[in-house]
């Protein structure tokens, strides 16, 4: 009823013994203490459980933990390795891209994935990428501003 799986989590090789019937979200939170990944709706609608698996943002509440055997996972905890903030983290702070902050990990992860694929997204492209992330506090404007600012930062850094 359980399996030992191996995967890369935030750049580190990790093993975990998980029951078959455990979601990726629950494994990340309860077994690996990656609590930045939130359980906002558990049905794939709010995006607060978004993590990057093999460079794609997915809803971890809709995946079984056993499915990530051999995969690469990135959570918010892994975004600022070496203590240096990722530009998105910086701009979300500066541009007030959050209020209560519960949706913030999901927004940052999806935005991160977007900027990897599309370094200079238009506002419409940002909206589309973030369609699956719901926020009840901000009205989205400052979130989008944060992503635009991060994209500008990242494009001048080179």
């Amino acid at each position: 009823m359980e399996r030992r799986i191996e995967f890369t989590l935030n750049g580190k090789r990790t093993t975990c013994v998980v029951p078959y019937n455990m979601t990726l979200l629950d494994m990340l939170r309860t077994k690996l203490r990656m609590v930045s990944v939130k359980k906002g709706c558990d049905s794939g609608d709010c995006g607060s459980c978004t993590v990057i698996v093999n460079n794609e943002p997915i809803c971890s509440c809709l995946m079984l933990a056993v499915q990530v055997d051999g995969e690469e996972i990135l959570t918010l905890e892994g975004l600022n390795r070496d203590r240096k903030l990722h530009p998105l983290q910086q701009t979300f702070m500066e541009s007030h891209g959050m209020q209560c902050g519960i949706c913030t990990p999901g927004f940052i992860m999806t935005s991160f994935a977007l900027l990897q694929k599309n370094p200079k997204p238009t506002v419409e492209e940002i909206r589309e990428a973030l369609e699956g992330n719901l926020c009840r506090c901000t009205g989205y404007a400052q979130i989008i501003e944060s992503v635009i600012k991060a994209s500008k930062l990242m494009n001048t850094e080179v």
């Binding site: 019937n21 629950d26 809803c59 079984l64 056993v66 499915q67």
Partner: protein, 291 residues
């Protein structure tokens, strides 16, 4: 607190051959895990569950492809919806499949959901079922002992029984559309970001000069299963698209042809009224694309 899911046996075949072997062994009490976006919801909310065994084919990449095969396009059943959205081949030859992908869920969902899963789960609003209905699609279904091909309409009519125990939908082949054919897809929801649809509709239109040579209209989310509106199609065939009033009169019969269901997102009466509006719009759009 941990989310409670039912207990099950779990199998993860390494390739298609192994998958078919396992299905044969564990049938009939299993569910296939493709994208997981429908299956995990069922596990959590116990809508259609239980099953003893889950067969995880989510990493069966040999079924994840879009291939240009001269007269038709072959799509592996494990092709992700996001793949369809971005595929140059699809955008060129079967743009409706990319349009459907653009309206499909959210980016996260598109990265997980598969065309095969959407089709086999056969919900009342399954977007790709609408595509199958209006395109001359053929489905290739494999089991350990045999291969079979089935056309989309008979497949859809069987609903969730279409794929038999031990079988796996492997591929969908769709003939390329000729240039005088226009297609469109519309999805109507209660807000702009993805939510439970009020209705969805797909339309295919082929003209000869200004005369409607062939028209196919599929309507979904309104009734138990998506279906073609054949009586409307029959009346439209042969009409001139310049005869706007005549065309509209035919479309206006749609509300009386359907038996819509009520839901939180829309009442039956609203679905009834909107069916006309959106089929009309889909028709117009397909018409624009005919030239």
């Amino acid at each position: 607190m941990i989310t409670l899911l039912p207990r099950f046996e779990y199998n993860k075949p390494r390739n298609l051959e192994e998958a078919l072997e396992i299905l044969e062994k564990v049938k009939p009490n299993y569910r296939v895990l493709a994208g997981g976006t429908d299956l995990l919801l069922e596990m959590k909310f116990k809508t259609r569950y239980p099953a003893n065994t889950i067969v995880d084919i989510s990493k069966l990449n040999e079924l994840r492809y879009v291939r240009n095969r001269d007269s038709h396009i072959a799509i592996g059943s494990m092709t992700k919806v996001e793949d369809l959205k971005n595929s140059e081949i699809i955008k060129r030859y079967l743009p409706i499949l990319a349009e459907i992908a653009s309206e499909f869920g959210t980016w996260q969902i598109r990265n997980m959901a598969t065309i095969g899963g959407n089709i086999c789960n056969a919900s009342s609003s399954a977007d790709y079922l609408l595509a199958l209905l209006i395109l001359d699609a053929e489905l290739n279904i494999l089991s350990l002992t045999k291969k079979r091909h089935i056309k989309s309409e008979p497949f859809i009519n069987e609903g969730r029984e279409a794929v038999k125990p031990g079988e796996l939908l492997a591929e969908i082949t769709i003939p390329k559309l000729s240039s005088n054919v226009g297609t469109s897809f519309l999805k109507y929801e209660g807000r702009n970001v993805s939510s439970i649809p009020i209705l969805n509709t797909a339309c295919l239109l082929e003209l000869e000069d200004h005369t409607i040579k062939d028209v196919r209209i599929a309507l979904g989310a309104v009734e138990h299963l998506p279906r073609r509106l054949r009586p409307v199609e029959e009346k439209l065939k042969g009409l001139s698209v310049r005869d706007k009033d005549k065309v509209d009169k035919v479309l206006q019969t749609i509300p009386s042809l359907i038996n819509p269901k009520s839901g939180v997102v829309a009442s039956a009466e609203y679905r009834r009224a909107m069916s006309y509006v959106f089929v009309k719009r889909a028709f117009s759009q397909a018409l624009e694309r005919c030239s």
